[in-house]
Assembly symmetry: C2
Homo-oligomer: 388 residues x 2
């Protein structure tokens, strides 16, 4: 074939469940000339990236690094390294990503006990304790920030439950990382993974992970090899640690971008960043509710960066999203799993969490809903403005 | 921690075994604003990328896509999908990457018969046929372009050998992709993988793979699930194919860069690109040999984009490489595996395959060798120039 024209995308405003808008500084940083994966300059970049990831995760874990794949590769890294065939895993599922954890764990040969609870509601710690009562587990896993439903889970009660089963505590922090507080060490989380394209506002492609010394002790004492060579943490530790032994060629430019995205987070300050997400998401929700839209997640369990909105009866999901995309280049997310066709997911994440995004979304959505036969009860933006 | 300074790397000229220098067009393309992984514009980009990868691989294979990880993730994708526990795999190893294939296949639970042959020499097809004589194999795998030694393997004889064993033929094309001709369909290769950071001159992070219908039939008729959820081709086919079902969030910006890198390859023309690699590598070799340096790989088995050079007795490997890096920002590769400390690997790949690179390398190397006590027999650049 002959060469096609250079690819040009339409301008977009990203307010789905990720990716979010990426700041120009990050795009520029990842566009710096490529250097070698063993270059002394790059080794310094790696060390700074690890230190910044630790800060955002709220941990001193030595074994903290970005996996060379997206958030799902981070998930797979933890289960592939922590579980051996025949190990038991207790996994709470209240959305797509809990279910994905269970599936990934099963493929590692683990016996999975899955507690399936209502989507859009937080997990009841007592129910999880009961589901696993009376037997040991290698791993207890749950989602901190369920990207499919917009539920934020309080992690505080789960260390004690994990201890009852002698289990390592594993959490999905994909949509909480750099958007809501994460305190891995304080909550006794042994292993966590995230992605870069949510509240960090970095392009997708890397998965920050962190493991406690206890979790790494488990990895080092495995009887069988990790089934994935690419994700084997014992091998990755030799490259990311002092030895600097070649494993695979690190995605150098993506890590340049990650460095800058993390730097911008620390420059803003974690507390200020969390407050921004809280403030604007509260305003968004006030606006949506004033319009007469319903938010399925109870108010005390809502994940600030991601809001689930029920699609009103008779309104065509795709027609509304299509109009927003065509008119304004505005992307909001469709529902996933049990919420497919029934809800939208509106993200206010990182660089996509501004008053400009809020205004465009509420205005555009109100307009499109009206055209689709649903008349908002009030002006969404005015209500949001009043709540700011 | 507080935010560190923005990361700035020293200027580099990349002439190791990859990554190679990345053209500014590719850096700019991957720095375009991020869009959604299900955006209609992005779906179009994906389709064009797949078509261009097919052209470079010399195949019409429907199942052709970039895996969201580096070349080693591409390798793991093929073995994880094609092999089930208990399957037999016949693998020829004549360098680090053949050995890595064997290791990855073993971790999938396969019984691996590994033919280990001399590093720096091509594989003898008769020896491989003999090693597997009298028994069936699910997969026969070998490396087309051994990045650890700079050996190019003629793939023509291996389809017949694979047929004798009822095996699928799998090849590593990491350092051949877009640098030397690959004809998957003509040679009856069932599955191949590559990386982006070699002759394609794209940042590392993606792994183009291609599988024949027969190979995908094997994947679809598996009795057990693929052990990796992230690399499961049945699931990936649903996203990259017509269904567009969400699997994981594609590394959107990396794929923008890949689109542009592939476009530049087709714009130059495959034949012209291969000729450029041949011409400049012949000149490099003439220059190195004129200096009195020895090239361990026999002349008819040399891989144009990557030249293995024996380090002369008494010369300090790291001192020479350190000088080149410090003075000129010039990176050449150290030896790997059996050649560690004994040889250098000099890459002339993609955008790093120019007369400018040739001249800097030969001049800088001659100078550093002299300072380290080895006096070149002749002027390397003059000899290279004469051979151009």
């Amino acid at each position: 074939m002959s060469a096609p024209a250079p690819f040009r995308a339409s301008p977009r405003v990203l307010m789905g469940p990720g990716p979010s808008d990426v700041p120009p500084e990050v795009l520029r940083a990842q566009g710096a000339p490529t250097i070698g994966h063993l270059d002394p300059d790059f080794l310094r970049c790696m060390d700074e990236v690890r230190a910044m990831i630790r800060t955002v995760f709220g941990t001193d874990n030595r074994m903290t690094l970005p996996i060379s794949g997206t958030g799902s590769a981070g998930m797979e890294t933890l289960f592939a390294n922590l579980l051996e065939p025949g190990d038991a895993a207790l996994i709470a599922t209240h959305g797509v990503f809990g279910g994905r954890m269970a599936e990934v764990a099963r493929r590692q040969g683990a016996e999975v006990v899955e507690l399936q609870t209502e989507w859009g509601q937080p997990i009841d710690p007592a129910a999880l304790a009961e589901a696993g009562a009376g037997r040991p587990f290698r791993v207890l896993a749950l989602v901190h920030a369920e990207t499919s439903t917009g539920v934020l889970q309080d992690l505080a009660p789960f260390r004690a439950i994990a201890d009852q089963h002698g289990a390592l505590l594993v959490t999905d922090c994909v949509t909480s990382f750099a958007g809501v507080p994460i305190q891995l060490d304080r909550h006794g989380v042994d292993a966590a993974y995230s992605g870069t394209q949510k509240c960090l506002s970095c392009p997708p492609g890397l998965a920050p992970v962190s493991l406690s010394d206890r979790a790494m002790e488990r990895v080092r004492s495995r009887e069988s090899d990790v089934r994935s060579w690419y994700l084997d943490l014992r091998l990755l530790a030799r490259y990311w640690g002092d030895e600097r032994a070649y494993h695979h060629t690190a995605p150098v430019n993506a890590i340049f971008g990650l460095h800058e995205a993390l730097r911008l987070v620390l420059d803003e300050g974690l507390e200020a960043r969390f407050a921004r997400h809280l403030r604007l998401s509260a305003a968004l929700r006030a606006g949506l509710e004033a319009m007469g839209l319903s938010l399925p997640v109870p108010s005390d369990a809502r994940l600030p960066p991601l809001t689930l909105v029920a699609i009103p009866d008779g309104v065509d999901d795709k027609a509304v999203r299509g109009k927003l995309l065509k008119r304004y280049g505005l992307e909001i997310g469709g529902g996933l799993g049990k919420f497919a066709g029934k809800a939208w997911r509106i993200g206010l994440m990182g660089a996509s969490c501004t008053e400009r995004h809020l205004a465009l979304c509420l205005t555009g959505l109100g307009e499109a809903l009206r055209e689709e036969g649903f008349t908002p009860a009030a002006d969404g933006l005015a209500a949001a403005r009043a709540a700011l």
